[in-house]
Amino acid sequence: MSETLYRIAVTVNGVERTGQVTARTSLVDWLREHLHLTGTHIGCEHGICGACSIMLDGAPVRSCLIYAVQTDGHRVTTVEGLTHPDGRLSILQDSFCETHGLQCGYCTPGMLIAAQALLDANPRPSEDDIREAISGNLCRCTGYQQIVEAIALAAKRISGEPA
């Protein structure tokens, strides 16, 4: 039996992308396998680890818990969409480098998405706000402390305070 294909058009990182997908294709599989946007990582594939976090219409969600077909007509931002158009890293990404907010890097795309969504909504987060915002993202290397420091550093830089 061949599966039905559904035509979708999704704005990914500001560019309209079209495709034909089976209903069961998860958004993360479409992003990685069809659009070759492999920055978004697949961890647990059942909504526990947060590695696959992306922004859907500006809000962070898990792309393993959304079928690609559901995002037809919507706006997706992946970790690739966080960099400047010329490829330079964002303030947040730079801050992760500076504070050693990553080791193996597996959780990093999800952490960056969760953190960027936090800073978009709340440019001056408290440490509690930061910990709450990344509470749905598992990291097995850093112990989280440097990630919290990275996000706090980025918040200071974005608001123009001396870091």
């Binding site: 039996m1 599966e3 039905t4 559904y6 089976t22 209903a23 069961r24 998860s26 599989d29 647990c44 594939e45 059942h46 909504g47 947060g50 976090s53 859907l56 809000a59 962070p60 969600v61 898990r62 393993c64 818990l65 959304i66 079928y67 077909v69 559901q70 037809d72 969760a114 969504a117 709450e132 915002a133 509470s135 749905g136």
Partner: protein
């Protein structure tokens, strides 16, 4: 960990969703936020032939506040409900419980109705529905009907919804009493995990600080979340003395049928039920008194 094959239909209206359910109901599942359904599909615990996506139906997404009831559309996102300050003032227990529902990424996508229909015995929103005696409006092609939360939840992951029915609205009773307090708490391995045991309470007091109305319930310790209206009635007219409070909580715990698994034994769950029930009742009472 990939979902089995299925056919997808995005319903543009409630009528269309009901029509699709009347055609495919037995072999279909309604997809709202998908935060429980999609993992169950990935684990192959569910293999529906059709998923009927109702998450884009705008008339299922609203918060409507009236004097004695707050109505939420079934597809209202959990984050929307959590962030609504006016709703939180009228039904504070909802926001308190939502703080324990998964994480921001889950609540951004998950819906109020989806969590209720999922009917996980340890989930927070079904417990709030039981405690407040919410009413649930469901619709089939043949028309709507309204169920009490008590009638809606029939067992673990099981509700009274017929295969061709779709939950459309939840009606949360608003207590008119000015001095009302509520509290919600739970014990889980990590914040955001499923609760081993959860408890919630709402209490209203008069000008003298005496309880005039009380409700409480416990989740995760029986096939469905359980509310204890008769036991709560014993607290009315009192000032919540410790012996009475402990006795009420102990009786509630004794009436539960907790299961055992790798996370907690039945005895531990029963112990937690009594401790957490005491804690939320006391906290709700203190908040109500402070609001005088």
């Amino acid at each position: 960990m990939k979902s089995p094959a299925f056919e997808y239909a995005r319903a543009a209206s409630i009528d269309e969703a009901c029509e699709l359910l009347s055609q495919h109901g037995d072999s279909a599942k309604v997809l709202a936020g998908g935060q429980s359904l999609v993992p169950m599909m990935a684990f192959r615990l569910l293999r529906p032939h059709w998923l009927i996506d109702i998450s884009e139906i705008a008339p299922l997404q609203y918060i409507a506040l009236e004097t004695d009831v707050a109505r939420t559309g079934a597809c209202t996102r959990q984050c929307t409900v959590q962030c609504d300050a006016t709703l939180a003032a009228q039904v504070p227990l909802l926001r308190q419980a939502l703080a324990f529902v998964g994480h921001a990424q889950i609540r951004n996508r998950g819906t109020i109705g989806g969590s209720l229909v999922q009917a996980d015995p340890s989930a927070e929103l079904p417990l709030v529905a039981q405690i407040l005696q919410a009413r649930l409006v469901v619709r089939a092609k043949s028309g709507p009907r309204t169920l009490t939360a008590e009638d809606f939840f029939t067992g673990p992951m099981t509700t009274a919804l017929a295969p061709d029915e779709c939950l459309t609205e939840i009606q949360w009773p608003v207590w008119p009493d000015r001095s009302t307090g509520s509290a919600f708490t739970e014990v889980s391995r990590r914040h955001g995990d499923f609760a081993m045991v959860a408890a919630g309470a709402q209490v209203a007091v008069d000008a003298a600080g005496q309880c005039i109305r009380a409700a409480f319930g416990v989740g995760g310790a029986a096939p469905t979340p359980v509310a204890f209206p008769d036991l709560a009635q014993r607290l009315v007219g009192t000032s919540f003395n410790q012996a009475l409070l402990r006795d009420v909580a102990q009786q509630a715990a004794a009436a539960l049928e907790p299961g055992a698994d790798t996370h907690a034994s039945a005895a531990y769950r029963r112990h937690l039920a009594a401790v957490l029930a005491t804690r939320v009742l006391q906290s709700a009472y203190d908040t109500a008194r402070a609001a005088r």
